[in-house]
Amino acid sequence: MTDLETFRRETRAWLEANCPPEMRTPQEDDDDRCWGGRNFRFKSEAQKVWMQRMAERGWTVPDWPKEYGGGGLSKDETKILREEMRALKCRSPLDSFGIWMLGPALLKYGNEAQKKEHLPKIVRGEIRWCQGYSEPGAGSDLASLQTRAEDKGDHYLVNGSKIWTSYANHADMIFCLVRTDFSAKKHEGISFVLFDMTTPGVTTKPILLISGKSPFCETFFTDVKVPKENLVGTLNRGWDVAKYLLTHERDMIGGMGLGGGGRPLGQVAADAVGVENGMLADPLLRADIARLEVDGWAFQMAMERAGDLAKAKQAHPAYSSFLKYYGTELNKRRHELVMTSLGSDGLEWESARSQEGEALRAWLRTKANSIEGGTSEVQLNIISKRILDLPGA
């Protein structure tokens, strides 16, 4: 038996023994996720135990180095762990912006002290991070951001505001883009800093979304003192860090195109329209669903291939824009079809039957997929420019 086969066998046995049954049911939406953080309220004891057991082995972030608390697994082992978790329907033990975004950026651009300080806390789910990129005047044109940080000798003084800051009101720390040179060209005067959300001068104000939920905030900074050692990378070179982080964010958002563990669409539709001769009685709906499944299943393979390309060092650096664009558009299409399949039953916003409009809220939430992390149009611009090398893009 090869080492990998042994690893697979042992991993499966460990997961079977350690993943509580409650953590092997489909995760319905963002509220079911384990986000961690100083003030996180676990939804159940099982959720807490599952996170802790995985964190102990570093398997909340299996591919980070052991010295920073990660699992130290190779890409092959990480892939096997994921496959085995999927096979046993294990939920993700811990999700966070630290895992998806900040961690990879720190591994590449952070200094030793920053890695030692922040990465283990991300692995153990102790600190929850939020992302301070967008501003009212700087969305797609992110590099035009205006939040300023002035050099005050031993610290930076940050003033300005951010918007669409997801979970800022629940986060312990923020990674934030600030302007440190106002005379330079817009991409060249930006720095990447970290600070605590409890620092005096930081306030947040939740924004109500069309889904009826408030997962994001306006975030204001008034004379916020940020220690100088919290600068990541080089002063005024924060754009490099920001862009690198975005590729990881995009990979993650693109992964939503894989669809969750919910009921297969064919079954949802069968309840609504019935089945004749083993086929959905509405042939046009059946065709729409079949086409979506073709594209969705193929996209799953494209994600797998993206990982293998990265491992073989053959992936284009802007490949994440493809995954982000395609995966999010696919996810929107899927939820449109969920709504179509549910028919009028699915439209009840407040009712026990519809679980308080669960499908509706999820459908509405997906509309943000092609906006957050850079819009679909922006991803197409990036592909045009960086992959296809088209003039003027």
Binding site: V275, M279, D295, E304, I383, L390, P391
Partner: protein
């Protein structure tokens, strides 16, 4: 199994790319078409395919083949697609060889050896109607003397007019649409009662209609077992589908590459047309569609190698995707070339024509999406 070509496969791709671009370019297809060439493919190139081991790519070593896998076969098909090469590779080296391997027996072994040596051309005669429906078999083989009498008609038989041997899917039991009850027969096209009509197709690739009018075939014409041919046929078709999907990837990629190059070269309103965001977004979207298909096709080919019993849904996925994305690629290609894209002098239209035929071959995207829906129970 990583979803990328390994080192040997990449090397094979490089040599296939070199050979096919050099000896079977689009210009060759044009010439075959314009000369109304009797065989419709280059016999010299086919000889080189045999010398390079491509003709015997799926043939076992004991029959003189190179015993490679479906990924390798797909690599060659992709280059064939890029160059719109007319070649018996699909009909003989892939469909024919797969059928012979599944059939087994001495006769099949001899044929395999000839395939590898480039000494025989085969054609699979399956379809009877204008839309692919492999279970619909009206052509009947009725027992007579020491063999059968064959009656019926086949259409869209790739390389039917150049084949030395026609592999006929004939009904020997059951009703017209039964899955089982078919037998695969090796029929000599020169036998009495066989008439072969070459059909000149839009893509200038080879196809034929073949009629069997009370043709007598001996018992030793049976490949595999009587009434039990369905598995052989479906295995051969699955290989053919995955192979055509790989060819379509090549067709789509080449149409795409040529279009991106044209966007950088053609100027209107004082700038390269590739500067217009309306076109940038469309071509970038197309890039994404082609990438998704590439993964699905490679996965299907790998599954045919690693777990052939599970391959059917993967193959359908690959073919469904390849039909759709290549169809988009060739349409966008013509549109973005403007008027010149409509001319016969420019190659881009030829890609559209081949894509149209490739889609129809062994099931279009609807056929395969439907197959997936059935497998998933809705």
């Amino acid at each position: 199994m990583a979803l990328v070509l390994n080192e040997e496969q990449s090397m094979l791709r490089d040599s296939a790319r070199g050979l096919i671009a050099d000896r079977g370019p689009v210009a060759q297809l044009r010439k075959l078409r314009d000369d109304r060439d009797a065989s419709g493919f280059s016999r010299e190139l086919w000889k080189e395919f045999a010398d390079m081991g491509f003709a015997g790519i799926l043939v076992p070593e004991e029959n003189g083949g190179s015993a490679l896998g479906h990924v390798e076969a797909g690599v060659v098909m992709e280059e064939i697609g890029r160059n719109l090469t007319s070649s018996p590779f699909l009909s003989t080296a892939l469909l024919g060889a797969t059928a012979m391997k599944r059939a087994g027996g001495a006769r099949a072994g001899e044929i395999l050896s000839k395939i590898a040596a480039g000494q025989i051309l085969l054609a699979l005669a399956c379809d009877e109607k204008s839309k692919h429906n492999p279970h619909h078999v009206e052509t009947r083989a009725t027992r007579a003397g020491n063999g059968f009498t064959l009656k019926g008609a086949k259409t869209f038989v790739v390389d039917g007019h150049v084949a030395d041997l026609i592999l006929v899917v004939a009904r020997t039991a059951g009703g017209v649409n039964d899955k089982e009850g078919v037998t695969l027969l090796a029929v000599d096209p020169k036998a009495k009662g066989v008439s072969v009509e070459r059909t000149i197709m839009v893509d200038a690739h080879n196809a034929a209609r073949i009629t069997f009018d009370d043709v007598h075939v001996d018992a030793d014409a049976v490949l595999g077992e009587v009434d039990n041919g369905a598995r052989i046929v479906s295995d051969a078709l699955n290989v053919g589908r995955a192979a055509v999907a790989a060819e379509l990837v090549g067709v789509g990629d080449e149409a795409f590459d040529r279009t991106v190059a044209y966007l950088k070269e053609r100027k209107q309103f004082g700038k390269a047309i590739g500067e217009f965001q309306g076109l940038q977004h469309r071509v970038s979207h197309l890039y994404c569609e082609l990438e998704v298909t590439r993964a699905a096709v490679l996965k299907a080919l790998q599954t045919l190698d690693q777990a052939p019993a599970n391959a059917a849904p993967f193959v359908s996925l690959a073919k469904a995707r390849a039909c759709a994305s290549t169809n988009l690629a060739v349409q966008e290609a013509v549109q973005m070339h403007g008027g010149i894209g409509m001319t016969d002098a420019v190659d881009i239209g030829l890609f559209m024509k081949r894509a149209r035929v490739g889609q129809e071959l062994f099931g279009d995207s609807r056929f395969h999406a439907d197959r997936i829906a059935r497998l998933r129970g809705y």
